[in-house]
Amino acid sequence: MKDMGRMLVRREAFSELAIGNTAIVRAMVEAGVRVVTSYPGSPTPEIAEAIKSIAPDERPFYFEFSTNEKVATEVAFGAAINGRLSVAFFKSVGLNVAADSFVQLPLMDIGGGMVIILGDDPGANSSQNEQDNRHYAKLSYCPLLEPASAQEAYDMFKKAASLARELRTAVILRLTTHVCHAKEKLRFDAWEPATPDDTPRFDPDSSSFIPIAASVFPMKRRALERLADIEKRLPSLGLDTLVDNGNGERGIVVAGLPFASVMDALELCPPGARRPDILKLGAVYPFDRALVRSFLESHAEVKVIEELDPILEGDFKALAYDLGLHCRIIGKKDIDETMGECTPGKARAILAAAWPDLFPPEPETAAGIGETDKAPPPRPAQMCPGCGHRSAFYAIKKALRPDDITVADIGCHTLGHLPPYRMGRVLLSMGHSTSTASGLALMNDSRRVVCFIGDSTFFHAGLPGITNAVYNGHRVLLIVMENGTTAMTGHQDHPGTGRNFSGVTEKLSVRAALEGLGVKNIREVDTYKQQELTGMVGEALDEPGFKVIIARHPCMLKFTREARRKPGWSARRVMIDLSICTQNHECIERFACPTFQRTEDGTIMVNADLCIGDGSCRQTCPVQAIVPDA
C-alpha cells in the first residue's frame, strides 16, 4: 500500500498520481512553508487531508483549522509578518468572511510572504453562489495566479510563494473545483530540507503596519507600485503560454481550466482546418499587457473565454481602445456565458457562437436517443440513515403551525429544506440564521420564527447574531443542531469537539458560550427523544424573548464508521413486521429515512445496505410495525 504522507516529504524527485489539492501540499513542503491555516470548505478540504497524511513529526510546517476564514487569514498574516512563509486556504465564499482583513494584506509589508489559496466553485457544485474571486484581487491590489491543471497548481504554488517572499506580500493562487480535484500523473521535484530560521522578525519600526488616515496613502502607493513591479517580472516567470497554430486571423485568450476545455473542443475541428492561436494566461492579475498587446496586434479577431465574469474582456477592450488597436475583441455573447462551468461542451458552443464555421455542423441526434425512454427521478442530497437532524426536523415540524417561519443555516441540516420536512426556508450565509430570524420577528406577532445553526457554524459566525438577539431582545427560537463535528465537509474538528488538528484540546461548550453571552432560556435534548423535543419547541415558542434549544445527536455517519472499526462490532438493522404494517407510510413519506424502499404493491422494505439499525424510526410508526431485525 502506498503511503501518501511519506511521498509528500520524500527527498528525491518522483512521479505519482494525485489530485491538485494533494499536489499543492508537496509544493508547500518544497517551498519551505512554515504556517498553514484553513477553515474547511469544498473544494479545498483534501489539502488538509493530504497534510494529515504526513506524520506529525515529519510535517515541516504548522497547520490549524481556525474557527473561520477571517481568523485563518489573520493567523497566517501574523506568522508572515513575523518572517514565516504562510498559507491560508479556503473555499470561494470563505473569502467573503475573510474579506475585512484580507483586503488590507496588500497594504502591508509581509516579510515572510503569504499565499492565499482560493477554491472557487464555478458551477456552484457545493457553494451558495459561484462568485468570481478575481474581483477581490483587483479590489485589493493583490496579485493572482491561476493554474489550469493539477501539475500547474503545484508549479504555480512554488512561483507564487517565491514571488510573495521576494516582494514581501500576499499572492492569491486561484484554483477552481475541477483543478482541485483533477487527477493526473504529476512530476515532483527533489526536496532538500533546510533548517528554518524561526527568529521572530516583526519590526514595527521598519514599516507602518497601522493604516489609519494619511498613513494609508504610502501603503496604497506601495501596493500599486508592487503590482507594476510584478508585471515587469512576468515575462521571466514563465506563467503564460502561447499555443501557436500559425493563425493570423483568429486568436483565443483564456486562463485556468477553460484552457483545457478549449483544447478539447478544438480537437473537433475538421482535419486540416486552421485552429485559432491560443494565449493562455497564468498571471491573471496583473496580466502581461505587452504580451496581450502583441497578441491583439497579431490577430484580426480575438475571442476572450472567461469562466464566470468578463473581467479580462473589459481590460483588453480598454487596452485596445487606448492603443488604437484594430483587433475585433469578441467577448461574452449572452448571460449563459457568465454562468456555470466552462466544460469542453460549453467551450465548443461558445467558440461556435463566435465563429460558426469553426466546427462541422453537429450531427442530428438520431430520433429517440435519450428522449423517448424513461427519465430517471432526480436524486437530491439528503440526510443519512440515522441522522439526528432527521429526528429533529420530524419532531420540530409537529410543534409548528403551517405559517410559522423557519430559517436555515449552512451545514448538513440545510437539507431540511427539502421535502418532506420543508424546515429552514431561507439561507444567506454561514451564521446568518439568528439575525435573519430577528428581522423576520420584527413587527410580527402572528407568525412565530424558528432558526437553526450547526455547532461548527455556531463558533464560525454564529456568535455575533446571537449576541445581537440577546442585546436587542429579539423574540426568536434558535435550535442548535449539535452533531459534534463539521459533518458536511468531511468531519473536521471544531472548538466544540475537544480536539484540534494537532490533538486533544479543551472542549468549548455551546451551552457555556450561550450562558456567557447572557442567554437565560436554554433547553437541551437528544434529538432521538422526538416527543420531548416536540414538547420543548411548543413550550419555548410561547415564551417571550430569545430562546435556545440545543438539539443534540452525534453525526451517525461518523459514529457508524468509528463503530465498525471496533472489535466485536456487528451490523444492526430494523425490519418491517408485515403482519402489523398497515401501509400508512409514515416511515417512508414523512420520517423519510432513505433506508425505507417502496415496492410495487405499496409494501415497505428495509434496504439492508443502508440501514444502520439506530432505531430512531421505530417511534414514528403509529402501529409499531418497525422492529429490530434479530
Binding site: 483533477a182 487527477k183 483544447m263 436524486r379
Partner: protein, 187 residues
C-alpha cells in the same frame, strides 16, 4: 490505444465511487496509459449522486463531454439509467451493479421505481451494450464496486487494462485482510 477512451462512473454517496475511480486510474497508470480524471461530489456524499470521470489516452480536460463516455460504470440502477442517457456514447457499453437505492420521489410515491429493463432500453437506443451485475456471495456490500470491476475485466470492456494492472493498483490502495478479500473477488 488510438484517441481517447472515456470512462464515466456514477453511484450514490457512500457506495465507493471514489475508490472505484482511484483503482481504475491507478490500473491505467500501471498499464502505461496516460490519463486525466476527476471526482465530482460536492454535497453529494450525503446520499446524492457521486460521479467520476476518467479519460485514458489524449485528453486535456479532466471532464468527459456529455454523450462521449465509451464506458459507463454505475453502482446503482437509477444512476446507471441517468448516466446511460446523458453520458453514454453511441455504440458504447454500460455495466452496473444492479442495486437499487430509491430516490426521494420514488420513496414518496411521486415517481415509479426504475427497472433494470429501463437501463437496457436506454442503452439499446444508443446501440450500446448493457451488462447488469448482481452477486449474492459478497462478504460485504461495500465490495459491490470491486465486483463490477471484476465483471468489466472478464468482459474486457476497458482496452489496455488487464487483471494484473488492477491487482497492482489494488495493492497500492489497500493492505491486510481487506486487500486479500478484494483480490480474491477480482479472481
Amino acid at each position: 490505444m488510438n484517441g481517447t477512451f472515456n470512462i464515466y462512473m456514477a453511484g450514490v454517496g457512500g457506495q465507493g465511487i471514489g475508490l472505484l475511480a482511484e483503482l481504475l486510474a491507478r490500473a491505467a497508470d500501471h498499464a502505461g496509459l496516460s490519463l486525466r480524471g476527476c471526482d465530482t461530489h460536492g454535497l453529494a456524499q450525503r446520499g446524492g449522486m457521486v460521479t467520476s470521470h476518467l479519460r485514458l489516452g489524449v485528453a486535456y480536460s479532466p471532464l468527459i463531454p456529455d454523450g462521449q463516455a465509451d464506458l459507463v460504470i454505475a453502482l446503482e440502477r437509477t444512476e446507471a439509467l441517468r448516466s446511460a442517457r446523458s453520458m453514454l456514447k453511441e455504440g458504447g457499453a454500460v455495466i452496473w451493479y444492479d442495486a437499487t437505492w430509491q430516490a426521494l420521489d420514488v420513496r414518496t410515491g411521486a415517481n415509479p421505481p426504475v427497472a433494470a429493463d429501463d437501463v437496457r432500453k436506454a442503452a439499446e437506443s444508443k446501440g450500446a451494450a448493457a451488462h447488469p451485475v448482481r452477486r449474492d456471495d459478497l462478504p460485504d456490500t461495500r465490495m459491490q464496486n470491486v465486483a463490477v470491476v471484476a465483471e468489466a475485466l472478464r468482459l474486457a470492456l476497458i482496452p489496455g487494462i488487464e487483471l494484473d494492472h488492477v491487482k497492482a493498483a489494488m495493492s497500492d490502495l489497500m493492505a491486510g485482510p481487506g486487500l486479500e478479500t478484494n483480490l480474491a473477488l477480482l479472481g
